[in-house]
Symmetry: C2
Subunit: 305 residues, 2 copies
Amino acid sequence: MIFSVTILGSGSAVPTPSRFPTAQFVSCNNRNILIDCGEGTQFQMRKYGVKIQSLQVILISHLHGDHFFGLVGLISTMHLLGRNSGLRIVGPKGLEEIIRSQLEIGHRKLDFEIEFKLLEKGEISSVYDDKLIEIHTFPLNHKVPTHGYLIKEKPTELNLKKQKVLDFQIPLAVIHQLKAGKDVLDEQGRYWKFKEFTLPPKKLLSYAYCSDTKFDERIIEHITGSTVLYHEATFIEKDKLRAKKTFHSTANDAATIALKSNVQKLIMGHISARYSNELEHLKEARNVFENSIFAKDGMMIEIGK
Amino acid sequence: MIFSVTILGSGSAVPTPSRFPTAQFVSCNNRNILIDCGEGTQFQMRKYGVKIQSLQVILISHLHGDHFFGLVGLISTMHLLGRNSGLRIVGPKGLEEIIRSQLEIGHRKLDFEIEFKLLEKGEISSVYDDKLIEIHTFPLNHKVPTHGYLIKEKPTELNLKKQKVLDFQIPLAVIHQLKAGKDVLDEQGRYWKFKEFTLPPKKLLSYAYCSDTKFDERIIEHITGSTVLYHEATFIEKDKLRAKKTFHSTANDAATIALKSNVQKLIMGHISARYSNELEHLKEARNVFENSIFAKDGMMIEIGK
């Protein structure tokens, strides 16, 4: 199974020639998810080989333009290219109205259904759940209601120790139970322990997304132990006052959250256009949390690799 | 004085790698005008060296997304980059509400004023007028109310035949009248004919913009004699039925309007993504109107050159 994140936009509110506004494509166990959708996201998807019609779920963190102005254009293009399969969009209250009113004003009647799940300020809930993955939301701390997301793999059936299963001629009904991680007492009174006949479970991977937010330790409980954390780092410590005033984080803030959340890797992004490069951000973050990288448009990160 | 058009987007509703959705930048006698503003227009402006803050007037033809989805992002960027000078936006009724509601939802309070001039369906009027240029609107024929625009230079003072003015020692008060194109009888009873002392007036240039529209000869009266005509040519004749159904034009239609309007040059654009290039469009148009070109992103056309 592949679990990867492709950065479509790593800039902040003012786009620059090398950084589009925020958007990320997450592929997790064949589920295709877009997180945030700044202006031009559909162009970036095409540029980096992400199929527009493959998207099943779109998660919007908040209603600042650099995180959602590309959504209505993306939806229009999906329609024009003949989409008829449904789309789920999760985002703050108000999102559905603004999208639908833009479509209506141009008399754009979609040939596919959009199911909106609208979030209340501060909401903590499960926003998507199927056989293979689950997505949770939790609050960030920004100027407007802002929602973080956690995408997690779900436990799947255990893999059998094949030779052992053959040697013991285990009945089919028992095998199903063992694969589900259950010990079984069969009709002949034999007791089968699943740990003896199955390989240890694969470690479940997860990706936590936190943009935009000021430094807030209340986030930690929602993302602890994630494999990879994306946390915005708009500023560096020398511009700490500006970070506070604008409800954004520094690289040091992001790394501190990563460290305290016990994640394996930190991806920073949302760099302010005032910085010509991300070297100071990296230096600052790695002083606190060594396995830190800075997002670049087009970068692909495999979760857990 | 420079009067030029820079093509920022020459594609139609579905963007392609080489063609952004519709937008054009017009510089006319130091007035900086944007016509239409599809998604990504602000990126194209930066790419082709058009200064975002230089814009004074934005004209929107209609409320299909490929003509206005980039407007709210452009306005946001203007604000974030510190704009404080006013902006005039002309477009269909409904435009102001959709833009303001998107700004409000993100609590984006602008530091500059936008003066909207909202057009009724079918409106024929002057939408901008100053010392040097004037802009008129007229109706096109599309699925939703759609407005064409005509940008015209205004007559300026005539240039004097300097040697002659010196030879005759013409009084200053008389000179002003002659430059304004008026014959003068002065206090000494002398009669001055302006044509004798001034050079012939410069031919006034104009640019007519027609996108999107089906073939409609009622457009001609509004654009007759324009120096350059932009007319959409989404399709070619073999897809004529599709053109009719979608209220768009073929290259043949565009060239016919150009011919009957007695313009000097035709620029076609808004090519459907179904065509891999514009060669058939050019061939078809030039059979009717030789001086036809097809817009390309980044192309700059000087009006009257």
